[in-house]
Each structure stands twice: as structure tokens, then as C-alpha cells.
Subunit: 699 residues, 2 copies
């Protein structure tokens, strides 16, 4: 896929110029300098010769099928004509470097749409416009105007920012970090992150895929592709723009807690994508993923010649969610017999300040051989007898003998360590100056190990018992009455139609009617004011609980109506809703808000009136949500501790709670017009669970 | 203070040797190489000449008062004799490099104690033993066996790990980071972190004090000194050993939540010390503290020539608790008129990829001049026309014109940026490759700004109404009965004696007695089983609430006794305690556990049965705790949001809650035998607060 972009047989540079300060010329020279071995054609209306190559007036002048890839660097107004010419000539892929499209306003946007239409018409794929270009170090090809070409390596970097790409290129060359592909996506008019991740996944030279993203163009397609790709290769993303664009006026708890950043988090988690928040992490992870194996677990052994830095490393192991390995008795005995008496043979293994290479050799070999160890960090500090180069050589040798366990170096110091660092670099063992960075990189490997080993994608349950017809009728009625908020009784009916157990509730227009309903349900009951205009009823005294007699109901009816009228004089009051009162269980919230990019975003957590205070809520996209993932979502919350039976209480019916969440997911998938939903509380009991208050907003 | 250690007029190296591989020789050469200008005497029993200097058989051979500082590198068994000889000769300070003391076991510990005794006897201060030595770049003096000498600078580094010190030295030389002092504390037999922080505070060349600590020797003294020092100079500490030494069997909620790491956190916070968790942070902060001014606030302006990296920086600003500045209208107008139309004149200011130095100049100058801006980050990426060196020069010039606003650089790239980075280094403007590090450094400056500007240390309130006599009697009785846990009624009496409002509670041995007490209090009441052996009464059904009639009390009495006997057949049952039932208020916990190092550690947070689940608890040491700090502690919790009136509820009586915490602090300070205390819940009301359950454990 995208062979024409990354491995074209022939390339044309449209807008090539004899003027060396012009971008068209720079691109041509970059392609030549990168060692590109295919055919290369400068295109310039005045033809002649450019950089020693014969130029042509147009791509079509080369004849049909002569060019796989055209790199376009002409002024924006000429791009469409060039694109048509390329299309006629059978070009397979265009890289449009030129700016002057969507990013410049309305006219540019029109031009961009037309460009895409032309590409579609001729079946050409398009990178850009307004991009830096594309590089593949294995082809090799540098079809960009960036200065420099990366070292050959196994990392693909896909960037939505051209400046970022150029800066990273410059940095990586000095740091000696190698890449397979470098792609600048520009305006993403056609090819976007999903296409390019898919291409990198198929590229045999790429082991790790890095992205810098500002947005995702097609949420669903991204999720599908990334979920598949991350089973084979790690995808690490730095997504910028964490602050929400203005606080939105959310009418639900879920809406108030969620936001597009949380939706992105959920999307990346569900797709197995590793999201980082700093550039440093992005590249530390890339290097370690490219060069070290994925460990089987999170048990780390540390070998050090210095106590203090060893403790700092152990702290970091704990802080970053890894575990200090406990050695087997054999390992401990071997270390005891072969290291000096003062050495610490527990983890971290301290071979002491007077250690020479031999002690490192013993310690590293023994801990690598221990099956209770999943990965090894070797930490050396400068001492009178230290020999960083020797230690590095031993590490390289042992890494070759134990290739399935990741090994990283922490060589603390400056010039003294330079030789050792060099040896490690050559051996593919990442090396850091400070322990926390090495631990962070190892933690990334462990994290990817869990992602890669996850079970196959689940089936979404079928729920053959759902009754969409009923829901459709209720929503239709509300729409006709131009109500955005459903009544509690309607919400309950919707939930019930989807198999969610609800506390029965009915509308009563008069007090007498309320008494009749109560007699039907049995006492005690709850009265709630019924009005499409009043969402948070409790706050205005619109709810009365635990009513035990007809007299109490009549009194409550008038109290509630009076209070509602006082707070919302213009509210449309339908009467009250009478609900059977259930004993209090563990209070949960199950909610949904709709994300523009990714669709329904589900929330689960501690319910009740303190939802927004405690913020104990986990999120998932409803996309492909199976019950295993629902359970994982529940486990992330403190509510889960309550469900398991906190402080000696009976455990609750987890299966019933999972079922409620699963059915909500199905409901909001079936009905896109439901824009927000809060079930708060859901009471969970040792047997079963019941939805007590269902708020639904339609759009 | 410690002049003899850092600025001695004369130095003797005891154990100096002609053999260049020996530590004694290395130290001598290090002193010479560092350019030390005082008198220098090699001491060796065989005398002769060493490294061109006349050697002496003993320090005393030089005559009384001839030597200020003796650096001792002889085998451990000879150290005591050397120390006595130095004492006789009037030496003022000893640096004992030799190992073979406390770190080697019992014999070594004895030797160390004797060494300290000798130093005390002669009034000598002692650094070490088992240390690398001491350096002062301004004296200059390198009295250590470390290879190399740091660049001259304004950072003091005090390390409990010799290896760490040597590694950092090596690293800093290559990075070009300068230091004023480097101190290796070794076993801290005499001089410890507190002494050395105090010395660095008085050193005119030191602007920032960095510590690597594994423990603190004297908690109280450290707190007092650090609280004072941090008002003048920043103290940044990396304290290792975050994992607790085994889970302790805590009998209180507070005990279960707290631990020595939390006590250290509280200590550092209360003393104004900045605690970091990584070595990278330690040095990033040091550099920025040494070179840039403390800003007045946290409003950051970002000037960039690249959009993507600008967004990443803005994200980081938000994530690290800083704020993107909003420019004044004048600034916006100036930028609008002097930058191209496509430039973003809002924050981040994007001067665009085709910007040359002039646009950076305009943008940086205008945002620096804006009074809504407290600090500036300048971010440059490589472009076709970028001139990092030129931008750096402009920054240096503008920094000189606006010396009171911190300015930092983010020069993203490699070789392209090297010239610019060099210029910034010379101008004292810290420069980073990735934005998050620069933001982190700026956040550190802002944090120190708040520390420095904090109001003077508060008075601890006097509480003239406390009645320690009553408490003493209750504790005495429990001690005589060999009970570690007080009864609820005793706990309430203790709290009450210290002016804490409590829900009245009395012990009843028989059901009839319980009924009498209830009549006295008025219904409803609560019954709790009374036994020194049962701590968590609720868990075993040992509590009955809301009893409204004598009959209910009689029934509850037998229920509770039966349940207690069933769960704890061997428990010593005193009967029940009858307590007046209070209406439910906001449920809080106020607790205390005693830290070995720092004394009473107070806890405040959300109370009730979910304390351990929600873990919404803030901690403070009782040391010097005033009411302003108590309020700050309360504000850290979510409980504070409830106290302020969550979701339309009436605000609670914050003053009453603060008073409870303050009085608990006084109580546990007056009675060191109280080892743990939990008041859970304290009910807070719109008027007043009341302690409902007071658990006290004595040791």
C-alpha cells in the first residue's frame, strides 16, 4: 500500500528550478542526495537542464505511466492544473508541498476540495497540501524540502506539524537515532494518520510507529485500523490540544466530566495506542521499542555499583508501576558465593564501588538467567576502578545471549561514560544518564507487552431482547412536543425497553392519581416534579422520598409543585412522577455523552449527589465495546472496591452492573439522537441492580 | 560558619602518599590542581616530600593552630589516633574519607561514636566518615578524591551518596553547569544536611541549595533551619526511599493512610523545601534558579515560529499548573500592526515559519513589556530562514532590559541550533530541546516564588482553656489497666478537655443504666459496644443508631453484646456506651499518627466509612502549625468543597473545623504518649462542628 509514495519507481518534481534558493530546487537536490535509485524528472515549463538532469515541460510530456510519484512545489493557483496533468499522465501519488489551501481561508478551502476531486477522479493518492514532504530511508528517498536526511532505522514518524518534523529530524541526526519513514501530513486533504499508520504497519522496515497529531480525521476508521495495527507494532502518539475549547454548558453529569480530551484518551486506550504527553517520552519510547524486546512481565532487576543511585532507581521502578524482582534462591546463592561479602545480593544488586567488570558480569548474567526477572537495568557510576566500556561490552555480550529480556543502561556521568555509551549504542542497548528515564522506557515496553498480548477483539453482545420500537415512539413524541429532555418516566421506559431493570415510575397529573399509583406499587414511594424544564430536581426541593401514606403523598404533591413554581415560575409543569422506592444499594452512575469525533462516550463510576465532587469515573467509547472491556472500565474506579464488598459488606452483583452498561452502550449506538444520558443512581445489590433515575437528552 | 571546612587558611592531608594510585595522593593532587591558595601540608609518618611539598610525620608536628582543616585518608583503625593528634594541634574541622565505620557493623559503629566523642572534646567539626570529601569552587578547594572539579557557579550540592556526587560532577563538567559547593556527607556522624544547608545559606556565592538525601538526622532541627533558609534561597531535595519499610499494622485510619514518605512530604512542604522525584528535575531546577529571576505570577507568554510545537507548549503550561497569559489590548494591537496578517497575535504568538530575527524581536519585546505576562518562553524550530543565533542574541539583549521576568529558550533541533544554544548559555538563559522541560523549569521558579513570598511564620494559638490535668488522669487510668485503646467515652472526655466539642457519651454496664443515660440526653441515642479489644465496632454490628424508646435500647443492648461476643469471644466487654445522636453533618476525619522522624503527623479529610476508599486526606506535621496552615490543609481536600456548600447546600462553619484541627494538634503535642488518634466522623454544620467518635491509642 502506498508503494508509489514510499517506494516509487520514478519521481517527478513539478516546479523544479535552477535557482538553488527555490523549494523546487531544494527538493530535487534532496532526492538526489538521498541516493534515490529510480528515475527522476525535473518538471519546468522552460525545460532545459536542472542539477544535471534533463527537465521536461510537464509530467504528461513524459508519456503515460512514466511517473509514479509527483512532488508539486508550484504556486497554489497552478496546483490544480498540475494535478490534472499528472492525472492524465497516470501518476499514482501526489505530494503537494505548496501552501495556499484550507489553511488560508475560504478560497483556499475551495481549491483544496477541487484538488481532492481531481485526485479521486484519476485515482491518485494525495499527501498534503501544505506539507514538508515524505522520506523513506530504505528506498532511499527524501522527497521533501527539509534540510538533512535521517539515519536509517526502524521508526516511522508521522507528523501533523511540518516544523515539528524538521526539528525532530535535525535533533535525531545529532543523537544518532534512526528512522524508516518521515511523513509530513500537511492539511490531510486525502491521506491522513489512519492511512499512514496502515502503510507503516505494512512496511517491513518499520518496527515502531510514532505520530504527532493535532486531531484525528475519521474517528471510527482510526479506531478500527489502530486496533489491528497495535497487535503487531507499537503505535505511540503525542496528541496536542489538551485544553477544551471553552467550557461547554453540559446538562448532564457525564457531559460535565467528559470532554474531547477524555474521548481521545478512551480512543487510544481502546485501540491499544500508547499516548504520551511529552516529546521526550515519544522518542525515548521509540528508541527502546525499536531496539529492545518486549518483556513478559514487569519484574525489573537492577545491577549497580552505587547504593544511592540504586535506591533512586528502585523508587522510580515503584513510582512508574513496575516491580522490583525477587530473585530465586539459586540466584541469591550464586550471587552470595561469587560477590564480596559487603555486596547487596538482593535487588538492587550492589556490586560495590570497587567493582571491576568481572563483578558486573557475574551479577548481570545471574539476574538475566533468573526466571523471576523480566528486564534488567544496569547502572554504573564513575569510580576509581570503573570501566564503563568494559561493562558495556559485557552487557552487549549478555544481551546477545539473552535476547528475549530487555536490557537498558544508566551510565551516570559525562566524559567518563562516553566510551561505554558508544559501545551500548552500537549494540542496540538504549542508554540514559538518569535512572528515571530508563525506568520510563522500560515501563513503556511493559505497557506495550500488555497491549500486544491482549485477547482478540471481543464480540459486542447481541441483546436480542431489546425493543427499539418502543424507544422510537417515546423519542418521537418528545420531538413532536419539542422537548429536548425526556421525563423521568419516559427515560425509565426507554431504559426498560432495552432490558435495563428500572424502578417503576409513572406520571400523575393530580394528587389523587399519585395516590392510586402508590397503591399499585406499594409504599414507600418517591415523588418527583415532572417538567421538561427542570433537570436537577433535587436541588430545588422537587423530590420527596420515603412517602408512606396517602396523606404524605397529598402533602408532598403540593409541596413539590409549589417549590417548582417558586424556582421556575415559567416552567411547564406536567404534574409529578411517582416512583417505587428501592432500598439504597451501592450508588453508581452510568452515563453517556456524544463526542463529535468518536461518537458515544460512556461513563461509569460512583454515583449519587457527589459525582462531580469525587470524579470517580472511567470512560470508554461505545465503539466495539464488549463485556470484558466494560468490566475493565468498572475495575478502574473506586466504585469497584465498593462492588466487591468494602469493609465486610456483601459483594454486589457485578454481572448485573456490567449488563446495565452494555445495554446502555447498545441503546446509544442504536439511537444517535440521544445526545446525553445519565442514569444516576443505579443501585447495585448483592442480587441485581436497578436504574433509579434515567435522564435522557435528545438532539 | 564552617569557614574551616569551605575556606580554610591551611589544609593537612593525613595519609598523603607518594604512590599516585593511593587516595591520599589523589586528594593532595586534587587540592593542588584546584588552585588552592592557602597552606598545604602532606602528612605521612615517613615524611619526605610528596608531590613537591614537604611532608610532616603528624599534624601536631606543625605546631598548635597551624592547620584549619585536616583531610584524613588513613585506614579506619588509625583514624581515632589521627583525630586525637589533630585535636591536640587545634585543627578546626576534619574530613574523614576513610571507610570502616558505622556502615560496616557493630565494631565500626563503636569506632564512629568514639570519633565523634573525640571531635566534640576538641571542638572540631567532622564531615564523614566514609565520604568523598568537600569542594568549594570559589575558595577554590577540592578536598576530595573525585576526579575533576566543577565549573565555578552558584549551586551548592549536598549529597548523602558519594557515587551520586561523583557522577553528577562528571556530568556537570560536560554540560557546563557550574557549582559553588559540592559536599559528600558520608555517614553524617557529626555534620548533617541541616548544618550544611545552613552553611550554604550563609555562603555568599551560593544561590541555590540542592540535596540528595536518604534520610534526615534530626527532624525538628531540619524543619526550623529549612523554614528560615527557604525564605532566602531555594532548597531543592531529591529524597530517595519512597517505599514504606513493610506495611505497618496500623490500628487507625490515619495510620493506615500515612507513612514516613508522607511525613517527609509534609515536612518539606511546611519548611518551604521543593521536593523533586527525578534527578533531571533536580538539576533543571537548579540551573533555572541560579540563572533566572523569580517571577511574580504564573502567567506565561510563548513566542514561537511553529504552530504545532506552540500548541504542545501551551498544553504543557496547562498541565504543569501554569497559565497562558492573556495579553493587554495594547500588546495585541502592537503585535497586530507589526506582524504579518497570518501571524497569531494571541498566546502562543506565532511569528510564522518564514520569520527572521526582526519578528522575534518585536514579539518578545512586546510580551515582556506586557504587565499581564510574568515569564516568557521562546521556541524556535529550524526553517529555511531561521537564525537561532540571531534569535538568541535578541533574547540576551531583551533579558538584560527586562531582568525581572524570567526568560527561557526552547530551541528544537540538533546541530542547526547549536550556535543559538551557545549564545543563550553565555547569557544565562537556560535552553531546552523539548518544551515540557522548559515549562517544568519555569513552573519550579513560580513555585519558589510562592514559597519565598509566603507570610512570616505563624504563631501557634495559645488555647488557654485546655485542661491537661483531666487528660493526664484518663491516660493514667488506661495505662494502669494496661489498655492501649481508650474507650469512646474516654476519648470524648480527652477531646472535650481540650475544648473540642463532642457528642456526649457515657458508659453503661447494664441495659437499665443505658436507659437512664438516654433519658438524660434525650432521644434518639446511639449504642456502641464498649471494649478495649474491639476497635472497628461498626464492622461487627457493635453499633446501633437512632434508638427512640427504652424498649429499643434494651433490645439493642442485648443485640450488641451478643454480636460482640460472637465475633470476639475473648474480648473484655465493659458494657455499652450510650451517645446522644446528632443530625448528620458534613462527615470529616481529623486524625494523627506519630512519625519517628518528625513527630505528630495530622490528617484531615472526608470522613465516614469510606475514608480508606476515597483517600481524600491532607497531611501536616503538628510542628509549628498555625491556623492559616490548618486552613490551607483543609483547602487541599475535596471535603473543603463540601464545607463551602456543595450543590446549593449551606456552607459549614469552617472556623469551627479549623479550631478542632488546631486543638487536636495541641493535644497530641502536649501528650507524646498518644501515638494514634482518629476522630471520625467530625460532623460539620452551618454553625459549629462536633466530634462524634474519638479513637485514641496510647503507647
Amino acid at each position: 500500500m502506498l508503494e508509489a509514495l514510499f517506494r516509487p519507481q520514478s519521481v517527478a518534481v513539478v516546479g523544479a528550478s535552477q535557482d538553488r534558493s527555490k523549494i523546487g530546487n531544494i527538493i530535487l537536490r534532496n532526492i538526489i542526495a538521498s541516493g534515490y535509485r529510480g528515475k527522476l524528472y525535473p518538471i519546468n515549463p522552460r525545460a532545459g537542464e536542472i542539477e544535471g538532469l534533463k527537465a521536461f515541460p510537464a509530467v504528461s510530456a513524459l508519456g503515460k505511466g512514466a511517473v509514479d510519484l509527483a512532488v508539486v512545489a508550484v504556486p497554489a493557483p497552478s496546483v490544480l492544473e498540475v494535478a490534472r496533468d499528472c492525472g492524465e499522465a497516470g501518476v499514482k501519488a501526489l505530494v503537494v508541498i505548496s501552501a495556499g489551501f484550507k489553511e488560508t481561508g475560504k478560497e483556499g478551502l475551495e481549491r483544496e476540495k477541487e484538488l481532492v476531486a481531481i485526485c479521486r477522479q484519476y485515482g491518485m493518492r494525495l499527501l498534503g497540501p501544505n506539507c514538508v514532504g515524505v522520506m523513506d530511508t530504505h528506498t532511499p528517498l527524501n522527497a521533501s524540502f527539509a534540510a538533512g536526511f535521517p539515519h536509517r532505522g526502524e521508526i516511522a514518524f508521522i507528523s501533523q506539524s511540518g516544523a515539528m518534523l524538521v526539528a525532530i529530524l535535525d535533533w535525531s541526526v545529532r543523537e544518532g537515532i534512526g528512522f524508516s519513514q518521515f511523513v509530513s501530513m500537511g492539511n490531510k486533504a486525502d491521506l491522513d494518520e489512519t492511512d499512514l499508520i496502515e502503510a507503516a504497519a505494512r512496511d517491513p522496515h518499520t518496527k515502531v510507529i510514532l505520530c504527532y497529531l493535532e486531531d484525528i480525521r475519521e474517528g471510527q476508521r482510526f479506531l478500527e485500523v489502530a486496533e489491528r495495527v497495535t497487535r503487531e507494532k507499537p503505535v505511540v502518539v503525542l496528541k496536542s490540544g489538551v485544553s477544551e475549547a471553552g467550557a461547554k454548558a453540559a446538562s448532564s453529569h457525564t457531559g460535565a466530566l467528559a470532554g474531547s480530551n477524555i474521548a481521545y484518551d478512551a480512543a487510544f486506550r481502546q485501540a491499544g495506542v500508547i499516548r504520551v504527553t511529552t516529546m521526550r517520552e515519544l522518542f525515548d519510547l521509540a528508541v527502546v521499542f525499536a531496539r529492545q524486546p518486549v518483556p513478559r512481565g514487569r519484574r525489573v532487576a537492577v545491577v549497580t555499583n552505587a547504593g544511592g543511585p540504586g535506591i533512586v532507581t528502585a523508587d522510580s521502578v515503584e513510582r512508574q508501576g513496575l516491580e522490583m524482582a525477587r530473585f530465586s534462591r539459586e540466584t541469591a546463592e550464586e550471587l552470595r558465593s561469587r560477590l564480596p561479602r559487603e555486596a547487596s545480593i538482593f535487588n538492587p544488586v550492589d556490586v560495590l564501588g570497587d567493582a571491576r567488570v568481572d563483578r558486573f558480569q557475574v551479577a548481570i548474567e545471574k539476574v538475566l538467567a533468573d526466571e523471576n526477572v523480566d528486564g534488567v537495568l544496569v547502572l554504573t557510576c564513575p569510580t576509581a576502578v570503573s570501566d564503563p566500556e568494559g561493562v558495556a561490552k559485557v552487557m552487549a555480550e549478555l544481551h546477545a545471549r539473552f535476547p528475549h529480556k530487555p536490557m537498558l543502561g544508566v551510565f551516570m556521568g559525562g566524559e567518563t561514560m562516553a566510551g561505554g555509551v558508544e559501545v551500548l549504542n552500537r549494540a542496540g542497548i538504549p542508554c540514559f544518564t538518569f535512572p528515571e528515564l530508563a525506568v520510563g522506557a522500560l515501563a513503556g515496553l511493559v505497557r506495550y507487552g500488555a497491549i500486544q498480548a491482549r485477547p482478540p477483539k471481543e464480540e459486542v453482545p447481541a441483546y436480542p431482547d431489546v425493543r427499539p420500537g418502543e424507544v422510537r415512539r417515546i423519542l418521537e413524541r418528545a420531538r413532536q412536543e419539542r422537548r429536548r429532555a425526556l421525563l423521568s418516566s419516559e427515560g425509565a421506559a426507554v431504559a426498560s425497553a432495552y432490558g435495563i431493570p428500572v424502578a417503576p415510575i409513572k406520571l400523575a397529573q393530580r394528587a389523587a392519581e399519585a395516590v392510586t399509583i402508590a397503591a399499585e406499587y406499594g409504599y414507600p414511594v418517591v415523588l418527583k416534579v415532572a417538567s421538561p424544564d427542570i433537570l436537577h430536581k433535587t436541588d430545588i426541593g422537587g423530590v420527596r422520598m420515603g412517602l408512606k401514606t396517602p396523606e404524605e403523598i397529598r402533602q408532598a404533591f403540593w409541596d413539590v409543585m409549589e417549590s417548582a413554581t417558586r424556582h421556575f415560575p415559567r416552567a411547564n409543569l406536567y404534574g409529578v412522577e411517582v416512583q417505587k422506592m428501592y432500598p439504597k444499594g451501592v450508588e453508581l452512575i452510568v452515563g453517556m455523552t456524544r463526542d463529535l469525533q468518536f461518537g458515544p462516550l460512556l461513563a461509569f463510576g460512583l454515583g449519587g449527589i457527589y459525582v462531580n465532587l469525587l470524579k470517580d469515573v472511567a470512560f470508554r467509547l461505545s465503539w466495539g465495546l464488549g463485556l470484558r472491556e466494560v468490566e475493565a472500565m468498572i475495575r478502574e474506579t473506586k466504585a469497584y472496591d465498593l462492588l466487591r464488598g468494602f469493609r465486610g459488606e456483601k459483594p454486589c452483583d457485578l454481572k448485573a452492573v456490567v449488563d446495565v452498561v452494555g445495554r446502555v452502550a447498545r441503546l446509544v449506538t442504536d439511537f444517535p439522537e440521544i445526545v446525553e444520558l445519565d442514569i444516576n443512581p443505579v443501585f447495585a445489590y448483592p442480587e441485581g441492580a436497578v436504574a433509579v433515575d434515567v435522564k435522557i437528552t435528545i438532539g
